[in-house]
């Protein structure tokens, strides 16, 4: 469990107007891991929230998800996709406060391994997801763009915060 100065805010944004992409750029390489918290809604419901690392929109992402909608649970797998899914069926709603996502991005700043992340997406009206994703790139992550699928637009008041965790 993080404590004290090992857990720091890198950047945070509360949207002052509708916005299609939220960007965290110039992410310093001085932390060990990243934590991204989103509490967002979109103009149209049931959008998937996704990430691009370092502006890469190539087919370099994969993920495995375990999800449940309250009546059944299942798993799904996708490889060679063009974004890193944060959610799967734990979609966005159109009302603020409907969806929360917690994303852990491990060892984001090394230049030797592909980057993996864990995300937990939650929408009490649709589903709960646990997702593991990978970006097949060994570069340090210095930029994260967050969007919503099929031209989704985040609404005013949506919040996005990026934290850094330092191991030492």
């Amino acid at each position: 469990m993080p404590a004290g100065s090992t857990y720091s805010t890198i950047a945070t944004t509360t949207l002052g107007s509708n916005q299609s992409i939220v960007t965290f750029s110039s992410i310093p390489g001085t932390y060990t891991d990243l934590v991204l918290i989103t509490n967002a809604a979109t103009t149209v419901a049931n959008k998937d929230v996704y990430m691009h690392f370092n502006s890469d929109s190539g087919s370099n992402y994969s993920r495995t998800v375990l999800y449940g909608n309250g009546s059944s649970a299942a798993s799904d797998r996708a490889a060679n996709v063009s974004f890193g899914w944060i959610d799967y069926l734990g979609w966005t709603g159109t009302t603020l406060g409907t969806q929360v996502c917690v994303v852990n991005i491990m060892n984001y700043s090394n230049s030797t391994t592909n980057k993996t992340f864990l995300s937990r997406a939650n929408n009490a009206a649709s589903a709960v997801d646990a997702n593991v994703g990978m970006w097949r790139n060994t570069a340090a992550i210095n930029r994260i763009d967050i969007g919503a699928t099929t031209s989704g637009i985040f609404i005013t008041g949506s919040t996005f915060t990026l934290y850094g965790i330092t191991a030492a």
């Binding site: 309250g70 059944s72 406060g97 917690v102 709960v128």
Partner: protein, 168 residues
Amino acid sequence: MPNTFSLIASSTVGAGGAASIDFTSIPSTYTDLNLVFSLRSSQAAASENIYVTFNGSTANFTARWFYGDGSAIGNSTTGRLIGFGTAANNTANTFGTTSLYIPNYAGSTNKSYSSDTVTENNATLAYTGLIAGLWSNTAAITSISIVPQTAPLFVQYSTAYLYGVKNA
């Protein structure tokens, strides 16, 4: 470096047990809350459902959740459930563990939350669960109570820690 992740309060159950664990007068000065608890109930059962109350309210909770017990998956939409504890039929001195994350708890939107929960037991049956929850209330959360579902007691050495996460 700012103190982003701070302990607000903690509770350890004493020798007589406790019917609930309560956090009151939660300051609104943080961005998010993270409640981490380790609980065991006195009920003669294989597990205990843990329910939450915000600001004394038991109404307007919805959820989607699923769990695995080592052999099967169960699903539910029962609101207020935020985790599992162990119970008297589990291995002695073993407690269930849960991490509950509540973003924007002091804001004016409905309150969504994410919870990961596990129990452990030196037998064939133990639980792990993922929960997406929503309290459809726009009030700031100023108090949190966690209670066992079936009115036994939380046993001695059960613990709960409430952290505040600050993004600035």
